[in-house]
Amino acid sequence: MSEEQKPVEIMESPVYMQYSFAAGRATSRFLKSIKQGKLVGQRSSVTGKVIVPPRGSDAETGTPTFEEVELPDTATVITFTVVNIPIPNSKVQPPFIVANLVLDNSDQTFIHLVSGCKNEDVQIGTRVKAVWRDQSEWEYSFNNIEYFQPIEGEAPVDIDALKAKRLKEVEAYKHA
């Protein structure tokens, strides 16, 4: 019996959804900046908090955000997970770390890879710095940063203390 004549037991039924995605003005500016190797967030004039990547409004108050703030490429690990299963079509090999990071001088976390170290060395509060891809590869993408790498010699920070410090700093910008 040839392969062809066996009873059918399996069928492929993929579903593909095609989207045309418009980034919006605020996120477009963020992407244009990151293409130049710069991280730009937006400050809420109501709460004083810095949002990155910016969406053009402050989710906390629902108000539009206008002030752009250039940010450093250093950050703190707020939380993280070790991923043990491969992601289809990704070159990243497990086990790898996906972390929730907050850039210095900003108030909103985002998700990125933490690498360039032993996974065991990452903990909540670990200080990290962006490792950028070669400039020739920069696109309109957060992936211009290949991953964040722990900063040698910097001790982990206490998240609650970091949060308290930021809240004190943003007070100055409230209702500016």
């Binding site: 059918v8 399996i10 593909y16 989207y19 045309s20 980034a23 003005r25 309109y140």
Partner: protein
């Protein structure tokens, strides 16, 4: 959409890109749907006898009224009757047929239920509820619904 409000408000400052989100499912067919698809691959339509003796095509694994497990597969001819239809004057790329056609519910001869498929009738004027149709088999069959390329007037 060239005439949509979104395009009218086109803003050069806004970056746009196309994305594709894919769910690459592979499903196991089970014995009954598997038998139906095997039949299609071999150029044959298969139904199943329900608890009340009526023939269901495409076959279901369980009786739609009593939920009883069904096992009695029935070979059926590749001809049938259109019970209802809708003319598609502008086929979508995913419709495979590039010319206008009808979506139709087709009751295969010997079956008591109808199945959804395409009818290539040339023009809407040739479509009629109650018309007899026959299967146009695909040249390359692999155990899939598209093994029936479409139906055509018999």
């Amino acid at each position: 959409m060239a005439n949509s409000p979104a395009a009218a408000q086109h803003d050069d400052d806004v970056l746009r890109d196309s994305f594709e989100l894919g769910f690459t499912y592979t499903r196991s067919t089970g014995p009954i749907i598997g038998a139906f698809l095997t039949g299609l691959r071999d150029g044959k339509i298969v139904g199943i006898k329900g608890s009340n003796g009526k023939v269901i095509c495409p076959p279901t694994e369980y009786d739609p009224h009593t939920a009883e497990e069904l096992t009695e597969l029935v070979d059926l001819p590749s001809t049938g009757t259109v019970t209802t239809w809708s003319w598609i004057s502008q086929p979508h790329p995913k419709h495979v047929l590039t010319k206008p056609f009808a979506w139709a519910l087709i009751k295969i001869d010997g079956a008591d239920t109808a199945m959804l498929h395409k009818v290539d009738a040339g023009s809407e004027a040739n479509m009629k509820t109650g018309m007899k149709v026959k299967v146009r088999w695909a040249a390359d069959r692999r155990g899939f619904m598209t093994d029936i390329e479409c139906f055509e007037p018999a």
